[in-house]
């Protein structure tokens, strides 16, 4: 192709105005297709620009690699999927032609014009419907080989694996009435509703308003364009109407919840009432080679002329089952196309005037005839002729044939309502045998339909129907008048009942996406797949990109005939969201990625902490700087580095003083006269008599009697509890509490205050000395004993003065087994608290420690971490928590189950164990998750697993906790653990805790 010549010709050869409604002829666009430069006009789609350059071959089909080009030009078929540099499966007839696009065909092996896989087309007869179920598995094992080769051929476009998400976002809209589709019905409905005062959103998928008025001709209206101008003039000027063009309402969700995609945004629209004026899809005629480039819907040829000012061909044949074919023929003729024939499947035209007009132009009209076969062989396999035959009886033709030369075939077999959104809303399709048409019923009350989707086809009736639907919606909104709804009826018959002409040589396609021929559908039923859903699943009809828009109707007809049922009984397969394929970007939106930092986060960063996620939080695992290491946050420290850090931090806490940020710990505030009663009903311990100023261990069990959370409950006043929960468990604990209190209706206010408090645990023999410098509270062992809690003030560096007092909650807890204070302050003081402790602690060599170190320290004390040392079956008895279960309460959450499981003979128990330290060096230290066996034999059973295991510097051995069989659980018993590499090591059960069993250190 001569590029320069084609550029000028493709622009100059356009039809004169008023053809070309979408074009802005003052601007051209240029892009690349298959290495060729394509010039188009502003307003072109990729597809129309290609056609303007006489490029009718766009892509290749899924199965047989047949030539693919335009079919509907409305963005509603799968034939037009092309590849962009960074995007697969792009609708060429929907996507705007843009400067610089690099476009190519899809599913091509080699070049688009000479696809090496096109040979598959000739093997079609060896690939009957569902052939892959019937072969490729004998002899046994051979499928593995076949599968690789078959899979390699699957798929359409190629994904750009290096692509990054673009910015997409979401917005919300609320309207009285949303009208979907701005054709004559939708425009009228919107105007009627807006005139009555309703706030209306009008959603139109095309760039301009008008729907069929933009491309169709009407027998009863000579000038649809002036009608369109008049309607949109009013719509656009109306204060009550918001118009969205190039916007697609892509689904219907419960209660008129409508995702509308426009640009790079998904609007989530809530409509009080919704009017769907979504129109209908023109249907094809099933004949041999009905998929060749150049064979299109009549409406596509009309769009090509009226939207894009492109002459669709030189010589056309129109095959029709309604009068729209005549209107197409007339328009083609007007635009200089030689119409070779109108092939009318019917015995007569409805409108004698149209017939007269066509015949007067010398266009032959052949009644009771059809195109039986299209012949390819043109450029890009474009159609060059058709074989026209007389119809003998439905689906059967005479032997004598008439070949007609043409490069364009326009098909008008009738219409299928755009039922998808309506069926998503629960609507059902029923088939009218007289009109050979599906119509919709059983719609929800908040949903109305108008126009051709409602089987109304004449223009005046369509507009009246729009008005009727608007009245209906208005009356539901209480904005209607008392007048009875107008009756709208349409007797115009649009559908030809059997536009299916099977050919003995096949290739008479029902489904273009999946290369399915009429016999494939029938043969599926012959194989026993009689239900239309089974036909779909077996043959894959309707499963491709166009989701059955054009295959559903012929499939329903073919299946109904083959199984001797009515078309209504046969039905169509379920329409599911979305309406058109939607980029994942629309749904992902801005990709909100919530994560939480504590108030002291920046201090940890400054100290070079190794951060790890804990639920949605980020927490310091340990501080490499404590041993003079500096580790890049993005690199993984070595195991040795980690172990060294933890050991150093642990030693420091045991010998001096350390501080850990425990802000992520859940915090729940309970206030009210019934707070104690509520606590008593939720947690296992007794709380009614808990003294003010004391803490109590709080265990939560589930309905299955399983321990699901734990924490410390502080009673600050009779009617005020503050209870902690695990970092990852607090949300569900809070949810459970509020769930129960909606039933119990106790006089208590429950608030999740996790984020409102920042907290640290100051621990170590010198912790009291550090804290003394910062508070006036009596910190003596008598004044603030172990397990007590206090409210007080902490002195921190002030903004305006040297120091300022901040409110704090303090509790003496023993989680890490040293003298220690948990200090909770309002979050905004978190950083100040940290700074105050670090500076006051400098004299005592205070060091921060991380959550991994804390895990070791608490393990040395034998404290469990719920979810690490418990699983979905752990009941209090297995965990040795009998002491934390009140025996004197009638009820706590999970009590019934706890009572039952604790009475049953126990099968396993969580125990402490030790192993020699040398195993660390030998690589045999058990890891958490390794399994415990009943014995060392080959037939051993699994009796448990390791939940926690570390080398303990304080104890000098490997220590851990594990579930073991009950017979293995006595102190002194030995049990085998299968460690890395399948080796067994024998651990010894010991009493807990490992460290400081007299608890002297924490009670100082």
């Amino acid at each position: 192709m001569n590029v320069a010549a084609s550029v000028s010709s493709s622009v100059d050869a356009r039809l004169p105005a008023p053809m070309g409604l979408l074009l802005d002829r003052s601007k051209t666009v240029q892009f690349e297709f298959e290495g060729q430069t394509i010039q188009g006009i502003q307003g072109d789609s990729i597809g129309s620009a290609l056609l303007a350059n006489d490029q009718w071959l766009w892509s290749r089909s899924f199965k047989y690699h047949r030539a693919r080009g335009p079919l509907t030009l409305s963005g509603h078929d799968g034939n037009t999927l092309v590849q962009l540099a960074d995007e697969a499966n792009v609708l060429a007839d929907r996507t705007a032609a843009d400067n610089g696009l690099v476009v190519s065909g899809q599913n091509v092996n080699g070049s688009l014009a000479k696809d090496k896989d096109a040979f598959l087309n000739h093997f079609g007869r060896f690939m009957p419907v569902g052939f892959y179920y019937r072969a490729f598995y004998k002899p046994k094992g051979i499928w593995d080989w076949w599968e690789k080769h078959i899979r390699a051929k699957a798929g359409l476009g190629v994904v750009d694996l290096k692509g990054q998400p673009e910015y997409y976002d979401k917005a919300y809209l609320f309207h009285d009435i949303v009208v979907v589709g701005a054709g004559p019905a939708g425009l009228t409905a919107a105007l009627t509703a807006a005139d009555a005062g309703a706030q209306v959103l009008l959603v139109e998928e095309n760039p301009i308003l008008g729907g069929s008025l933009t491309y169709a001709d009407f027998p009863d209206h000579a000038d649809p364009e002036s009608l369109r101008q008049q309607l949109i003039g009013r719509v656009e000027a109306h204060a009550n109407i918001r118009v969205m063009t190039s916007a697609i309402c892509n689904a219907w969700f419960t209660d008129n919840w409508l995702p509308v995609l426009q640009g790079k945004r998904m609007y989530k629209v809530r409509a009080k009432e919704c009017i769907m004026a979504t129109g209908s899809y023109e249907q094809h005629v099933v004949f041999r080679n009905n998929d060749l480039p150049g064979v299109v819907m009549s409406s596509a040829a009309m769009r090509l002329m009226k939207h894009y000012a492109i002459k669709p061909g030189q010589e056309a044949v129109v095959v029709t089952g309604n009068d729209d074919g005549y209107l197409t023929a007339l328009q083609l003729h007007r635009q200089g196309v030689l119409v070779q024939a109108v092939v009318d499947m019917r015995a007569a035209a409805d409108s004698q005037k149209l017939l007269f007009d066509v015949e007067e132009l010398g266009i032959p009209v052949l009644f009771e005839s059809t195109v039986y076969e299209a012949v390819g062989g043109g450029d890009g396999d474009r159609v060059t002729a058709v074989d026209v035959r007389r119809i003998r009886e439905p689906g059967k033709v005479a032997d004598s044939s008439k070949m007609i030369r043409c490069d364009l075939v326009c098909m008008s077999a009738g219409y299928m309502p755009a039922y998808q959104l309506l069926c998503q809303a629960g609507g059902q399709l029923s088939y009218d045998d007289n009109k050979a048409e599906f119509s919709l019923r059983n719609l929800p009350e908040i949903l109305h339909i108008a126009g051709s989707v409602n089987s109304i086809h004449t223009l005046d009736a369509v507009m009246a129907d729009g008005q009727r639907a608007a009245f209906q919606a208005l009356s539901a909104l209480g904005m209607g008048s008392d007048q009875p709804l107008p009756e709208v009826a349409c007797t115009r018959r649009m559908n030809y009942s059997w536009p299916i002409f099977p050919h003995p040589k096949g290739k008479d396609f029902v489904d273009f996406d999946e290369d399915l021929q009429s016999k494939d559908i029938v043969n599926a039923t012959r194989l026993g797949y009689r239900d239309v859903q089974l036909v779909k699943r077996f043959s894959t009809v309707g499963m491709g990109p166009s989701q059955g828009r054009h295959s559903a109707l012929p499939t329903a007809r073919l299946v109904s005939k083959a199984t001797d049922r009515t078309v209504t009984e046969t039905g169509v397969t379920t329409a599911r969201p979305p309406l058109v394929a939607e980029k994942l970007s629309y749904l992902a939106g801005r990709m909100f990625d919530p994560y939480r930092e504590t108030a002291m986060h920046h201090r940890h960063k400054a100290l070079g902490a190794k951060m790890i996620p804990a639920g949605t939080w980020q927490r310091p695992a340990y501080y490499p700087a404590n041993i003079g290491l500096s580790i890049d946050q993005n690199s993984q420290p070595t195991r040795q580095n980690r172990d060294d850090c933890i050991e150093a931090e642990a030693r420091h806490v045991r010998s001096r003083v350390g501080v850990i940020d425990v802000s992520t710990l859940g915090g729940i505030e309970l206030r009210g006269p019934d707070a104690a009663e509520f606590m008593n009903r939720i947690y296992t311990f007794g709380f009614l008599k808990q003294p003010v100023g004391k803490t109590r261990y709080a265990v939560l069990t589930s309905d299955q009697g399983v321990v699901i959370d734990d924490g410390v409950a502080c009673r600050f006043r009779d009617d005020h509890f503050y209870v902690t929960a695990t970092t990852t468990g607090v949300s569900s604990v809070y949810q459970l509490m509020t769930f129960w209190n909606t039933r119990w209706r106790l006089n208590v206010d429950i608030t999740n205050v996790t984020a409102a408090f920042a907290a640290v645990n100051l621990a170590g023999p010198d912790s009291r000395k550090v804290l003394e410098t910062l508070t006036d509270l009596d910190l003596s062992a008598e004044g603030f004993p172990y397990l007590a809690c206090r409210e007080g003030k902490i002195k921190v560096p002030g903004s305006f003065s040297d120091t300022t007092d901040i409110p704090a909650r303090l509790m003496r807890v023993g989680f890490v087994g040293e003298l220690g204070y948990e200090i909770h302050v309002p979050s905004r003081y978190g950083e100040a608290l940290w700074d105050a402790l670090m500076s006051a602690g400098a004299a005592f060599d205070i060091k921060p420690f991380g959550v991994e170190t804390q895990r070791l320290l608490r393990l040395e004390k034998g404290h469990i971490i719920v979810s690490q040392d418990t699983d979905g079956m752990s009941h209090p008895g297995e965990l040795g928590l009998e002491w934390a279960i009140s025996k004197n309460k009638p009820y706590f959450n999970g009590k019934r189950a706890v009572d039952i499981v604790m009475k049953r003979p126990q099968t396993r128990k969580l125990v402490g164990f030790t192993l020699p330290a040398e195993l660390v060096k030998q690589g045999k230290k058990p890891e958490e998750g390794h399994i415990v066996l009943s014995d060392s034999s080959a037939t051993s059973a699994i009796t448990g697993h390791i939940t926690s295991c570390e080398y303990s510097p304080a104890v000098g051995t490997i220590i851990g906790m594990a579930y073991v069989g009950i017979q293995q659980s006595e102190p002194g018993a030995q049990f085998p653990i299968r460690v890395e590499g399948g080796q067994l090591v024998n651990a010894t059960v010991v009493e807990l805790p490992f460290y400081d069993p007299e608890q002297a250190r924490q009670e100082m």
Partner: protein
């Protein structure tokens, strides 16, 4: 070109009826030895093994919709055995073994595809749990390993190793993880069962379960069912009845006069348009509530967690789609440009321990195949085999004894919670 396909091409109009997979519909008989309620994979598998191993063929499978149209049609066809408990691993491993040979057994290609399943750990606690699952699997002969980031990169080079503040720390690599054409599994079983004389009645809804008083069982004894076909109603008698109606187990059990400890939640899945293959393993991330796989057709299938509230309705929602796909795009950023084609919903019968219920019910001769949550498809062969044995012998096979309904009242649960989240 495989030999098996030649006959079609060389025959002008191949008589497909002689090769039919499913027989034409017949009338209901007044009595069957066994009635299986539910014509999904489990129902027809049970019928198949009853006929094949126990010679019991006076059997009717009653399906209110079409064959395999419930959760068999809606699941995402994951086959795996990397569970947590000994009971679970033993059970599902048997299923994987059976799956491997089904195509040749059926003479019908179910397109079993061993891809391997990779579950991602983003936290320490996930690593601990995965190590345990790997060890339990290995103990029972399974091929499952805990692997590190480098091996993950090699298996799935397109994966974002640092998604949304939750870096991928490790993975559970289950080499036996596989997929198959889910519908074909039901069709293959139905084909084998009906060829042996079992009757499959589609569009036949069981409207009531007939139970008479029994001296040996307080719940009574099943004697038959009432069914509706279109507008016609029939009563049929049976010796034994099995209920295999995933998603509606509680409703049917109520008709038989008892309650099941099951709550039904909608579970959604979705699929993109087909693209050229780039992803072999099944990849799942419990932390991101998301799993991703590419089908043999080239489509990308996404699944995630159940809807947050119970419902007997299979409508799809926008919210779940948004959450799930946002997570999918975090794991695979380039997928932002893929196009979603379809979303759908199934109903999952959840038990409190995330394990199924199989075996006896309070009603004599009325057997349960229920509580299949998100693990029903992968258990189809072994469950069918076990249920068939139960029907034929009246004794609960050892393999499924841990899954009895009374474990809930006795608190002897088989907790698979950690091993089922978003891995399906």
């Amino acid at each position: 070109m495989p030999f098996a396909l030649l006959k079609y091409g060389l025959n002008k109009d191949y008589p497909f009826e002689q090769d039919a997979d499913l027989p034409a519909p017949t009338s209901l008989k007044p009595h069957y030895d066994a009635v299986i309620i539910g014509g999904g994979g489990h129902g027809v598998a049970t019928a198949y093994y009853l006929a094949k191993y126990h010679g019991i063929t006076n059997v009717a499978v009653l399906e209110k919709g079409y064959l395999g149209g419930g959760n068999t049609a809606r699941n995402t066809a994951v086959i795996r055995s990397n569970y947590l408990t000994s009971e679970g691993v033993k059970f599902y491993s048997e299923s994987v073994k059976l799956f491997k040979d089904l195509s040749n057994e059926f003479d019908f290609n179910i397109m079993y595809s061993r891809r391997g399943q990779l579950t991602l750990a983003h936290t320490d606690s996930a690593i601990r749990a995965f190590r345990q699952r790997a060890e339990v699997n290995k103990h029972f002969g399974g091929k499952t390993e805990l692997i590190g980031p480098q091996e993950i990169r090699e298996l799935v080079p397109t994966l974002n190793m640092n998604p949304g503040h939750q870096p991928v720390l490790a993975g559970l690599w289950h080499m036996d993880g596989a997929t198959a054409r889910h519908d074909a599994v039901a069709w293959g079983y139905a084909k084998g069962a009906t060829q042996r004389g079992v009757e499959l009645h589609q569009l036949t809804e069981v409207t009531d379960v007939l139970v008479e008083a029994s001296s040996s069982s307080s719940g009574g004894k099943v004697t038959g069912v009432k069914v509706r076909q279109g507008s016609a109603e029939h009563t049929i008698r049976c010796g034994v009845a099995v209920q295999a109606v995933s998603g509606h187990s509680t409703l049917l059990a109520e008709k038989a006069g008892f309650q099941l400890p099951i709550v039904s939640y909608p579970l959604q899945a979705m699929v993109t348009q087909p693209v050229k293959p780039f992803l072999d393993p099944l990849v799942s991330s419990p932390a991101f509530h998301c799993y991703v796989q590419q089908t043999g057709r080239g489509e990308i299938v996404f699944g995630g967690g159940s809807d947050p509230y119970p419902l007997y309705n299979s409508r799809s929602t926008l919210e779940l789609k948004e959450q799930l796909l946002a997570h999918a795009v975090e794991l695979f950023p380039f997928m932002a440009n893929l196009k979603l084609m379809r979303q759908w919903t199934g109903l999952t019968d959840m038990t409190s321990d995330y394990s199924p219920i199989m075996g006896l019910s309070p009603v004599e001769n009325y057997y349960l195949d229920a509580g299949w949550g998100t693990w029903g498809f992968k258990s189809t062969p072994i469950c069918g085999q076990a249920m068939a044995e139960l029907v034929a012998t009246g004794k609960v096979p050892e393999l499924i004894q841990p899954f009895s309904a009374d474990r809930f009242s006795e608190f002897r649960q088989v907790n698979e919670m950690g091993a089922t989240a978003a891995s399906h």
